[in-house]
Symmetry: C2
Subunit: 661 residues, 2 copies
């Protein structure tokens, strides 16, 4: 056995023993080292780069590693075999999904405003933010030799007297504390209670019993489990205030970037618990713990959980077989389920916290979309709206208060920085917008985040979705790339590898946060992104055609997803990703899956509304539409083979070229 050590830039070493010849990516997985491997280890994506510091590995040559890089020690983990005691460096960019957990600074967040606005929209639509949870001060006469009623009956009777209920159910959690809490507080206590229904009293459920002085809020947890990114909020259930927000990469990323590879992984021995542990034990629970730490909250004060996620993600989260999702006839185990409690899943919350999952409508349109549709408010408008969620893959919902149709397109992970050599999530260090001087071809970048000590902008680490849109749009506007995404100009910023493949360097190695290599975008990246945007645009066209419409019918476009709040709609139209509509018709609504989950968490009525939305939404299977493939191929150009679809773009592009010449 050889001893393999993984070193990190910002965390402690991890060591493990490996058999001679064992695959280095597999060894990393065993050691719970998250190395980004979107292609699930078949050598095609080139993202699992590690740097050999000592020892040796037997590795296959790859187009992703140049000779110069190879000489410097760079290897792809997935094509390397351990042949010695070995130490490798896992650079930040490869372990981005591990180290970049963020607990947001709430005061200064535009994001939080979006959540508040969506919550207000929901209320204005007549959906009360009532979750039937509240605290109740209960005072009892202490027991005596003449009044020997047991503790639970004493509490129940007092609650009945205060609420008009005729029975009370006390959780085991509260029962365990009850004798001590009653006596430490002279039989005057505060209870966390969930009423069955608004209006009627039903049978109140006692989640917790505390000192009457206890000031801890009654909290809930909203989680958006994306294939790539997980984001969560801790919310005060009584006021609706957001107390903490955090996000991180989905720990399942090491089992593949896409849902299909993860499902396959989950069918292996112990696969389901492995995948479940990756998303709960290694991702969500640390997020909860970090948020709780940041606001001084006991995680047992989380009494309700709402999860919005695609169908595969919520099956793997629940530890329920997702395998039928990938095989005809593609049947989920559930659309809706009321079977889950925190203790079933080992979630860091009150053991009896109910987990509400935003309903799926099929294998390919899940709870993230129903939740996002709720947040988009398109179900409450007479005018026709298009809702676009750009996560890993893209999903669309089109309709109004009368009908809604959804579809999913295989856009891949490019919008979240996947399949892009220097791609990353829209978090600290990501280039999120960019302009390029048409003459000098020099870029002007903006990067997410500031150094907490100096308050200076941080150096770039990679490029997020909105940055990629800008870069491609600018490269095209400046005539640096052609309609096919190939480099047609030369210059200092244009580099080519031994095969002649062009790339544009946005930041030189020395200027970057990792100082390990240039941040650039190459022709493969651009091609991947063009195919992703082509999938979105053709899906919009095919869905509207199937209804007998064209894009002119769209009154409003709501864009959501992890693409980055800096998304430039003009540039997104320029590259042919969105239809060429007036810019005022576009609104970026942030992480709508999470904001929808936030509303469902807070409101039983919103939970019913999203179930109704899900039941009424029809699903269009694009692969059954005969025109889809042709539409897709036609859309894989900048902006489109049919330039007449983008009248405003041609203008700009010509202007750009004019400047450059």
């Amino acid at each position: 056995m050889f001893h393999v050590t993984f070193k990190f830039e910002h965390s402690d070493d991890v060591s493990i023993y490996a058999a001679p010849g064992e695959n280095l990516l597999e060894v990393a997985r065993k050691a719970n080292v998250a190395i980004d491997a979107p292609c699930s280890g078949n050598g095609s994506c080139g993202k699992c780069r590690v740097k050999l510091l000592s020892g040796q590995v037997q590795t296959q040559p790859s187009r992703h590693i140049s000779q110069e890089e190879f000489d410097a020690g760079w290897r792809l983990a997935c094509t390397s075999k351990v042949m010695d005691d070995t130490t490798v460096l896992v650079p930040d960019i490869s372990s981005a999904y591990r180290d970049r957990m963020r607990v947001a600074d709430l005061d200064s967040k535009k994001e939080i405003e979006i959540f508040q606005r969506i919550k207000d929209n929901i209320i204005q639509a007549g959906i009360p933010l009532e979750n039937h949870m509240s605290s109740l001060l209960v005072e009892m006469s202490p027991p005596s030799l003449d009044d020997t009623m047991p503790d639970n009956e004493r509490l129940s009777r007092a609650i009945c007297a205060l609420t008009g209920a005729d029975r009370v159910k006390i959780s085991y959690f509260a029962m365990k504390k009850l004798p001590d809490v009653l006596r430490e507080n002279d039989f005057k206590v505060k209870c966390v209670i969930k009423y069955n229904k608004e209006g009627t009293v039903g049978r109140p459920y006692v989640f917790d019993v505390t000192s009457p002085e206890d000031k801890a809020p009654i909290c809930g947890l909203a989680i958006d489990i994306g294939t790539t990114t997980v984001a969560a909020l801790i919310v005060d259930m009584e006021t609706g205030n957001i107390l903490a927000k955090a996000s991180s990469g989905n720990g399942q990323i090491r089992y593949g970037a896409d849902v299909i590879n993860r499902i396959i992984e989950s069918t292996r021995a112990n696969g389901r618990s492995k995948l479940q542990r990756a998303v709960i034990g290694e991702t969500i629970n640390p997020l909860i713990d970090n948020m709780c730490r940041s606001i001084g909250l006991d995680r047992l004060r989380i009494f309700r959980v709402c999860v919005a996620s695609n169908t595969t993600m919520n099956h793997l989260f629940a530890g329920i077989s997702a395998n039928p999702l990938r095989m005809e006839p593609f049947i989920p185990a559930f659309f809706e389920t009321d079977s889950l409690n925190a203790q079933d899943l080992g979630l860091h919350a009150h053991p009896n916290a109910r987990i509400c999952i935003s309903p799926n409508i099929g294998s390919y349109v899940g709870g993230d979309i129903t939740s996002g549709t709720l947040a988009s408010m398109i179900w409450n408008k007479e005018e026709m709206s298009l809702f676009i969620d750009l996560g890993t893959n893209g999903e669309l919902v089109f309709g109004n208060s009368d009908f809604m149709m959804s579809c999913a397109c295989s856009a891949g992970p490019a919008f979240e920085g996947g399949d892009i050599s220097c791609g990353m999530r829209a978090t600290t260090g990501a280039i999120d917008s960019c302009t390029i001087d048409p003459v000098t071809m020099e870029p002007t970048l903006s990067v997410i985040g500031t150094d907490p000590e100096t308050d200076e902008p941080v150096p770039p680490v990679g490029i997020c979705g909105s940055g990629i849109i800008d870069i491609i749009s600018e490269l095209y506007r400046c005539g640096i790339i052609n309609s096919k995404g190939l480099f047609v100009r030369e210059g200092k910023r244009i580099v080519r590898d031994e095969h002649g493949m062009g790339a544009y360097v946005l930041a030189w190695q020395k200027e970057t946060g990792t100082q390990m290599r240039d941040i650039s975008i190459n022709e493969v990246d651009i091609d991947n992104f063009i195919r992703a945007k082509g999938a979105i645009f053709s899906a919009i066209n095919v869905m509207l055609s199937s209804l007998g419409f064209d894009v002119s019918v769209i009154d409003h476009v709501y864009v959501a997803g992890g693409i980055g709040s800096g998304i430039n709609m003009r540039n997104a139209v320029n590259i042919g990703m969105f239809p060429d509509l007036p810019l005022e018709k576009f609104t970026y609504i942030g992480n709508s899956s999470l904001s929808g989950a936030y509303c469902i968490l807070l409101s039983k009525a919103a939970e019913e509304k999203v179930a109704q939305i899900a039941r009424n939404m029809t699903y269009l299977e694009l692969s059954n539409e005969p025109t889809y493939m042709d539409e897709f191929v036609a859309a894989c150009f900048l902006p489109h083979t049919n330039a007449s679809l983008f009248p405003s773009v041609q203008q700009v592009k010509l202007d750009g070229k004019g400047d450059a010449q």
Copy 2:
């Protein structure tokens, strides 16, 4: 640190490190070695005998260890300090509660007949044995591209169609299995279902889903958690058949023989989980596992649990503070509770199995008595009955279908062999009955159990409650002891220690199963037992007096408890334990706590009935009765200071003396 090794006669060594001077009993507890210590380690009971095999301990002299025994290496663990690397032997009699787990051979058991009879009585009283659990074959049309309903909805709809229900709740346990089980069985499955109510359909609950060929029965678990002994049944919930029975000592015994010492122990650091682990993890779960193994059952097929136990035991079982039980005003946390599931307690059963606890009526009369009262059927008779449960301490219920009164007396653990130097539970190796030749003073013993290989009777190991009754009655009848329990004859079988204290040897060291020392009964044992029987008799008298009755009003006496099925009622009357009534009025009903739990397990109606019994039962606090102390002192003679209360006894005793002379 010294290395301490505990050796056993029938199991593997256990080793642990101990600090110099550390108490040997504490060291044993840390090592999870169950050494019987009814006095909780204050040196008064003399039961924690161990034999020093190597090394040395510093020990205090004790009246429980003779010089000869000391020279042979015998020590009391509770008064010994570790001073060296040490090895001690823990004899069977001291670890009786550890090694004597028994899975009963059901075919030949009189006990099982008692359970069946009690079940029949319950049915005859108009209480249907209906628990609303059954299996249901469900066949669905498989999904297709045209029928993409998710698995849970498909199953729910099929169940609704079969049962007339309009909604179904599927457990998380079943949800996790559902996709695989459906597909492995072509969408034809067997479900374990609990209906809400008889007659009305309510919302069926799906516990489990299996192959339609699965033959495993739907099972329930009934447990009697005694302070000393735990007994359990696995029952087929559909037929009511008992599939397995097992019993063992309560692992909490190492924290003291009585409930008060255990409550005190539970208030120490981690005490509650320590006590809970001792009874669940170390006692009940192994019992379940052994029973399941013996009948080839998966423990996850246990879908309902009923527990009958005294108030302290059910609080410690549930991990709920029992401390208020021992302090005025002696308030339990619950009489009834519906908060408990198997997964809350880590019980080896289906995680969603509801744990029904037979209701307590106060701190000193618990669920074992309400359950036992249900089994006794005294609530269904017009005539006046007395129900006596001889467990650790004794509890009485007197009454009929119109009223019932209960009381508890501090009889101690003597009926289960506690506080008796060679006492043990009524299990294999226990002397359970005895006659003594008045002339030769030689005993004739019967011993519980036969050697499984030779089918020969096993040699004696100790004496159980029914054996002690016989021995004392015979010693008295033969004039060997006087009314005060002191030895007044001499002979080969009568031995005296250096203080002159007499003892009667029932089996010489060589004849015993352990071959370690004689099995005998001494004046301290007899005195302990006389005080125990005096407590019972005086409680009967005082309770009847408080109602304006005397013993002549009693139409029937039902005797229950771990005293042993061999109890000789004649001898029990002879020693003044039970009132001098015609023998045909006495019936031994075995472990009524367990048989009551068995009925409650099987029947929702019995569960309601026992709750009604509990609510209607009044409690008499004996210590508030001014005559109790005098009555008790008067009863601490053989048979009683007022011999006229026992007319039939005097006769027999005189006859006996006549024979002897």
